[in-house]
């Protein structure tokens, strides 16, 4: 039985063309991009081309792209780098309760070490933060606003254009984690008022362990690691040449395909959402009904627990995930779901289905057949009273 992978928000398989290109680089390009002889120049040329591809994908200049080891490092560099650059003059970070841990934990770590004052804004029931709340949270010592573009768990898209505009009016640097969106939605920094943008290759069919931070020219940001001064000193360390090449190629392919592919995925997502809503009683859609990632369908099923849902679906050939994180013998509801105002028990029963390039209508229909009996069985075990 073919397994059905519906966890593309966790990671995507590497595009065969990307893998082939990377393998070629690994075997045929031995040089260090910092070396000035032929092998080095060859590696440098590849890194430069990739930088151009990533820049072109978001309307940036190549010099504005800093390669990192992934989204987490890009987020860390954005927060820590800006706070360090503004040390002594501004220390405020404004962010939201549903950010990725890479942002929230970094902000809290800075706060714990006396390096930042962090304001965490609430979101509404759909997971949207209000631009007015961001405006109200900014004061004269705010260094950075960080609001993600598309949420990894519930798929909600934030009004980052409006937030970026008000940040610009206030003279505050604006960072957005676009890890979930850059492969799926058009982002053009020539019109989008964002100063820093995090990107992660393995979310759009590139390799794991490589990403980038877009840094708008003129943004004050300090390096957080010291060494040989690569990436104009903003992220020092010998470039992951094959990884960077993979990022560039994956970005180029994603941009070429994303309009058609995101439209196709959106249709499948809607089929999934409508199918679950009609076949499973008391299914709670999480995230915004319309302003959401084209590949994300996420739900909570009262009377079920996320880990048991995931294990049950795994047995039936589906790879899915739950917002609940399993930590040392307990399953905790996610901070994102709790931030929506869901009660703890309901948040425990979360299921996230994320579609990808290889997902078919038949896959969706198979899931729609498999899921209702599983939910019913777990509800029987828990004795959940479910209104018909």
């Amino acid at each position: 039985m073919r397994r059905v992978y519906l966890d593309h928000a966790a990671t995507t398989p590497v595009d065969p063309e990307v893998a082939e290109f990377m393998a070629q680089v690994l075997t045929e390009v031995p040089g260090n991009p910092s070396s000035i002889y032929a092998e080095g120049r060859q590696a440098r040329a590849l890194v430069d081309r990739s930088r151009e591809e990533v820049a072109a994908a978001i309307g940036a200049e190549p010099a504005e792209i800093v390669f990192t080891s992934g989204g987490t490092e890009a987020d860390n560099l954005a927060l820590r780098g800006v706070l360090k650059a503004r040390e002594g003059e501004a220390d405020g970070i404004v962010t939201t309760a549903i950010e990725h841990h890479a942002v929230l934990d970094t902000a809290h770590d800075l706060e714990a070490h006396g390096q930042a004052r962090v304001t965490v804004l609430a979101v509404d029931r759909d997971g949207r933060v209000s631009p007015d709340a961001v405006r109200a949270a900014i004061d004269d010592r705010t260094a950075l606003v960080s609001v993600m573009h598309g949420n990894n768990e519930i798929g909600t898209l934030q009004p980052i254009a409006a937030i970026g505009t008000l940040c610009r009016e206030a003279g505050v640097t604006f960072h957005s984690d676009a890890v979930q969106t850059v492969g799926a939605l058009e982002i053009d920094v020539r019109v989008l008022p964002v100063d820093l943008l995090s990107v992660n290759a393995h979310k759009f069919y590139g390799p794991k362990g490589v990403g980038a931070l877009y840094v708008r020219t003129g943004t004050r940001i300090a390096t957080v690691q010291t060494g040989g001064g690569q990436e104009k000193g903003r992220r020092t360390g010998t470039e992951n040449v094959a990884g960077v090449v993979g990022l560039g190629a994956a970005m180029r392919i994603a941009v070429a395909r994303r309009a058609a592919e995101s439209a196709r995925q959106g249709v499948l997502r809607d089929r999934l959402i409508a199918g679950i809503a009609s076949r499973i009683p008391d299914a709670t859609l999480t995230g915004h009904p319309i302003e959401r990632l084209p590949n994300n369908a996420s739900f909570c099923f009262r009377g079920t627990q996320g880990e048991a849902l995931v294990v049950s679906l795994d047995l039936e050939g589906f790879s899915v995930s739950s917002g609940s994180a399993c930590t040392s013998g307990s399953t905790d509801p996610s901070h994102v779901l709790l931030a929506l105002g869901l009660e703890r028990d309901l948040a425990q029963g979360s299921l996230r289905l994320t579609i990808g390039r290889d997902t078919t209508t038949a896959d969706i229909d198979r899931l729609l057949d498999a899921l209702p009996p599983i939910v019913a069985r777990l509800r029987t075990a828990s004795g959940a009273a479910v209104p018909a």
């Binding site: 627990q305 294990v311 905790d332 425990q348 075990a381 004795g383």
Partner: protein, 128 residues
């Protein structure tokens, strides 16, 4: 004790074909326990006669380990003398399931806690 880092087929069988899920009507005793770290919980009802556990039912809101543990415990306890049932331990559940992932062993505890609670409740009710 064999401690797999994944669920055994036996544990998964108790997830997908849970035994004795439900609540006895007019039980001899009822017990409930929760896993304090996650808030998940199990309720067990028992029917006792002639000093033996005749029937056991469970309700579990929890993970695979919690459901499988409660399900297998209903099988282990049914037919035992009350004193024998009261001596069942988490290790008996792990044995019967062929082990649980190490970090999931805590989830097995609530089945035992709920069963013991049900047996105590039955004793209290019987002497009331």
């Amino acid at each position: 004790m064999n401690e797999p880092d994944h669920y055994t087929d036996r544990a998964l069988d108790h997830l997908t074909r849970s035994r004795n899920a439900g609540t006895l009507s007019g039980p001899s005793g009822t017990g409930a326990d929760a896993n304090p770290s996650c808030g998940d919980r199990t309720t067990i009802t028992v029917a006792i006669s002639d000093g033996h556990v005749q029937e056991v039912r469970f309700r579990t809101f929890g993970c695979t380990a919690a459901i499988a543990s409660a399900s297998v415990l209903t099988e282990l306890a049914a037919g035992l003398a009350v004193e024998e049932a009261a001596r069942l331990e988490p290790a008996d559940i792990l044995n019967a399931l062929g082990g649980l992932p190490p970090r999931k062993e805590a989830c097995a505890l609530m089945a035992i806690g709920a069963l013991r609670g049900a047996l105590v409740d039955a004793r209290v009710r019987a002497t009331a």
